[in-house]
Structures are given as structure tokens and as C-alpha cells.
Subunit: 339 residues, 2 copies
């Protein structure tokens, strides 16, 4: 995907890495990436696209610094949602509209469980919870309060209706390329005055005014994102991507549901299409599973240290064949280690 | 330099871009890059190395957020030094120990011109001023007040005595690889409590505690930095790099000094070894110079929009041959366009 063109971009004699962010050559790339993202995600004209530094965690701070005037609702469905809420509490009143901690974040709350404030500046949610393997399959009704969604681990994995959100943000390293870059999609009317002590790079008004170039943006990461977007467009867009991801997830969950050996960790109605979490009958067998899988070239299956167990992350880059290989291994492992 | 190993790093079956920042494979890269930077720059043990997001501009905010308790001295020798001072003024009292604006930032001040405060928390300076083509050739005496230096455009270009500084920082895109990454070298005793409203990613104490991994760092940029460091080590380290850069700068400045056609912009005793700024006899000839040079594959010679003219940036990646090609063109252009 990233071929030799990096070393001589369109005959410019320069590598993309070397290009000045204000050079004509780079600005062409930059504009095309923005246009392609708008096309792929069907982003309405009243939304801005920002490329910012610091991944999603930077936005944990930037969002309250820019948007939190009086109070914000946070829906806590996992570790990153919790971190986002803790960071926001430094900058204003944070109301936890739901907290899944007592249930070990095993599920996404129903609409009627959300204790939403009428006067919140925004409602924050994490669309997909990588550690626990849960994902929102609906957009909550917030009666006009803008929804701010961390989509770091689900962006570009399915079609979404951008117009239902006030702000969507994502660290790039799951489905958009390489780490360091944050993509922010924000409804223009939400861009206003930030708190006076907001660092320049975290200010949405300045980012808008400078078209994400107040300083040198992560030029190479943006270029890689462009390649990812072309790949998605060539496949047939997010509709096709969504179908592929649905099939991958179905293949894995069917295997889990049809085999008593494994225990899925997320509640059935809250299952993530990106991160499939489960356990073998004992922590020792979890470890053995991860070890034997690695020997077969199936990597990174260890569950997050916060909950242990096994986790299969099946982001966009994972093909159906990879999932089927994993399922074949899971069946064999279950047979060999059956109690 | 960045070969196919990126796609199958040491037989791991994974590309560096894909690796989790907490995977064994990546942590090995990460530790090696830190060790190599310590070796190349001869960084003493009482200094920490941080990899942070946001380039140098992020540090314009992070430095006062972490270090500015009462007052800070800023020495303003160019546009970035000015921006750093303006950002710091949001967080505390800023005293301009020197301001070169009236002289169009044509020179670096002498020690006796600096109006340093006795009770400053730190003195900030910009070691090399890319736009104006000036560079510090001495380290000012500050009577124990820590010096904080922006070395974005001169780091790794020569040997420096790290122990004379309290904090050194640099955006990576000039001499260290690709944009987005900031490298911070800080004396451990300066790491303390940040202002309470400091965004998590800007806090030095948290960065230290998490070894630059509070969130996913710019993994690929760090990897590229590692490659740059190996290249420097193989050449013979910063001593050799310094000699090469000195020769490159000498070659260019001799050409300027021996040809009435061009006017150097920086004062002779303040000349940068990284950015050589000059003008042809008219703005029209400046433009013609840039155009004709580009036709010969000599790119990016247009002066910064703030001052116009011509600027040759001769960072580490530029070889002596490139400089000699430029000089040959300069001589020919002067002959053809002599008045």
C-alpha cells in the first residue's frame, strides 16, 4: 500500500516525509485526504475536519477545554470513557449519566438507563470499548444536547450518520493508520471560545482558522490515512467495509456461542464488532491459548491487563481469512484441552 | 534507510506501524531509540528523555504549564521564540530579556545585552531561528537559572553540552525524522507539579511516570528517529555531523561573501549553520532565482513569507554535494543576471 512513491512523490524528487507541510505538493495530498474522508464518511458541509496531535487522549482534554461551559454528561462504559470523564472533571462539572463499573463494563446501557441532564453542554460516549469488547449499536436520544463520541476503535468500520453527532473524534492507530494523529469531526456551530488557559494546539477556533496547520501537522500520518481512505473507496466504501466486519464478527461469535469451552465476556446485546473478548476455562488455559496461537502466527491475542482473558481485535485491516484461521485454531484448542 | 523491514520487523510478521506500543517487539525498539539518543547526545543520567505529541509548539504550552511558577525570562530572537513567549504569558509573568524585533531579528544578542531576572524560573531561548537564519554560538550565563532551549532546527547538528541546559526540546521534523513528535530532554529535578488545569498529555510528571506512554506515543516517528540515530552513529556521531555541517555552511557563506550580487540577511556573527538567508538584488530576481533553481531540482529555496528573499535550509540530511550544486547555480545565476 505504501510503495516507493513515498521516496519520490509524483516525480517531485522528494519523499512525503521530507515535504514541507506548506509545499504545494503536500497541500494537494492534505486537501485530497480531507475530501476523501468527507466522501467516505459522508460528512455534511456544516462539519469541519481537523487533524490534531496527541491521539484520542489529547481530545479528552481538548473537548472540555473547548465545549464545557457549565456541565457535561459522561456515559462511562469502559476504561477510556472513564479517563475521558476524569480529565473533563478538571475543567467543569461532570455528571455521570451512566457508570458501568460495578458490572465490569460488560454491557452498553439502554436508553432508559441513561440519566441525562437537560442542561448539559454535551453528552460524551465511547462508541466501542476495546478492553471489554462492547459497542453501542444505537445512538441515544439526547433531546438536542450534542453527542460527543470517541470512535477511536470503530471509525471507518461501518456507515454512521455524522449529522446525529456534535463531535466525533478518533485516534488514528486502529482503523486510520498510525498513532499520534487525532481526527476530529465537529459541527461548525460548536466551535467557539475555549477557556483562556487552553494550549494553542488544543483550541478548536485556532485549528479551524489555520486549517489544522497552526503548527506542522503529522504530515506522514495524514498521508497514510489518505492511503487507507483510497483502499476503502476501492473496496466499495463503508457499506462494503461494514458487511465485511459484520461477517468477521459473526464468524467469531458463532464459534464462541457454539463451544462451551469458551466464555464470552461482553453481554450478547452489547458485543463489539471490533474487539471480541472471551476466556478459556482457566487463566492458565488463557495463557496457553495465547502462547499456542502465537506459535501459529496468530498474534496479540492476550486480553488487556485490566481484565485478562483473551481478546481478538478484528479491525478493518484484518481479513476474513485471518478470522477463519483463528476460529479453526479455537476449535482445535478447545478439543485438545477439553476438560 | 527505511527498507522492507518495516513490513516484517525482525521476522515478527508485523510491520512497525501495526505493532502495539506495549508489545515486546515495539518496547525493544523504543528502549533502543532512547539509549541511542542518550549515546549520540551524551545525555547525563540525571536527565529524562520524553517522547511527546505535538511538535515544538506543544512544548510552548507544556513548558510554562510545568515550570512557570512565578516568572520566566524569554529571549526573543525570531518568530518561534516570540510565539513561545506569547503562549507562556497565558500562564504566568513573562519578562522579555531581549527582543530583536526592531532589528528584524537579524542577530543573536551578546551576553551583556541580556536583561536576565535573578528570580526567573527559567530562561527560554530558541537555539536556531529558521526564518531569519540566525543561531546562538554560545550558551548564555544565567547564574543558575535553568536554560530551556528550543532546538527544533539544530538538534543533532553538532555536539552540545546537555548539562548546561535545564530542558532541551525539539520538534522532530528537521533533523530527527517526521513531524508530530516532540523530543524533550529534561533535568530530573525540574520535573514537579504542573498547574492543575494542565492537560494530561502535557504533564511532565505523568510523562515520566508512564515512560512517555500515558497514551500511545507516535510509534512510527520514534522508529524513524531510531533510524536517524543509527545513521549518525555509523557516520561517527555528532562530532562528524558537526564537521560536515560546518563545511556545508562555510561553502555557502563563502559564496555569499564573495559575490556582491547577493546580500546575506543575518549578521555575520549570528549566522545559522542550518538556514542560510539572503536576497538577490530585487524581489523579482528572488522569485526568478527560486524558479530557476526548482527547474534544476534545487527545491524549497523560497524565503519564509515573513521576510521573503531566499533561504537554503541545509539540515543534516543535505549532503555537501547538494550545497555545492546550489553554489554552482548561485554563481551562474549571479553572472547571468548581473546588473
Amino acid at each position: 500500500m505504501l510503495s516507493e512513491e513515498r521516496y519520490n512523490y509524483e516525480g517531485s524528487g522528494m519523499a512525503v516525509m521530507e515535504m514541507s507541510h506548506r509545499s504545494k505538493g503536500y497541500l494537494k495530498i492534505f486537501e485530497e485526504v480531507k475530501a476523501d474522508l468527507r466522501k467516505v464518511m459522508n460528512i455534511p458541509e456544516n462539519y469541519e475536519i481537523f487533524f490534531m496531535h496527541g491521539g484520542a487522549t489529547g481530545q479528552f482534554s481538548a473537548i472540555p477545554l473547548n465545549l464545557l461551559k457549565k456541565k457535561a454528561d459522561y456515559i462511562v462504559t469502559g476504561n477510556f470513557a472513564k479517563k475521558a470523564a476524569e480529565e473533563a472533571a478538571k475543567y467543569g462539572e461532570v455528571h455521570l449519566a451512566y457508570n458501568g463499573k460495578e458490572e465490569n463494563y460488560k454491557r452498553i446501557p439502554k436508553q432508559e438507563e441513561l440519566k441525562l441532564s437537560k442542561d448539559a453542554d454535551y453528552v460524551h460516549l465511547c462508541a466501542n470499548n476495546t478492553i471489554f469488547g462492547t459497542e453501542w449499536d444505537y445512538i441515544p436520544e439526547t433531546n438536542g444536547v450534542p453527542i460527543v463520541a470517541d470512535m477511536s476503535s470503530s471509525i471507518l468500520s461501518k456507515e454512521i450518520d455524522v449529522s446525529r453527532y456534535g463531535l466525533i473524534y478518533a485516534g488514528a492507530q486502529k482503523n486510520m493508520g498510525i498513532s499520534g494523529l487525532a481526527v476530529v469531526i465537529i459541527r461548525k456551530d460548536l466551535i467557539g471560545e475555549a477557556k483562556e488557559y487552553t494550549p494553542v494546539l488544543y483550541r478548536y477556533d485556532l485549528t479551524q482558522k489555520n486549517d489544522s496547520m497552526y503548527n506542522t501537522p503529522s504530515t506522514y500520518s495524514i498521508y497514510v490515512l489518505g492511503k487507507v481512505l483510497k483502499w476503502i473507496l476501492n473496496l466499495g466504501g463503508l457499506k462494503e467495509m461494514e458487511q465485511r466486519n459484520a461477517l468477521k464478527a459473526k464468524t467469531l461469535y458463532e464459534c464462541l456461542d457454539n463451544c462451551d469451552f469458551y466464555t464470552p465476556l461482553a453481554k450478547k446485546d452489547s458485543r463489539s464488532r471490533m474487539n471480541v473478548t472471551f476466556t478459556a476455562p482457566s487463566p492458565e488455559l488463557d495463557a496457553e491459548f495465547v502462547k499456542e496461537a502465537a506459535e501459529r502466527g496468530l498474534l496479540n491475542l492476550k486480553g488487556h491487563r485490566l481484565i485478562g482473558g483473551i481478546r481478538a481485535s478484528i479491525y478493518n485491516a484484518m481479513p476474513q481469512e485471518g478470522v477463519e484461521e483463528l476460529v479453526a485454531f479455537m476449535k482445535q484448542f478447545a478439543k485438545e484441552h477439553a476438560l
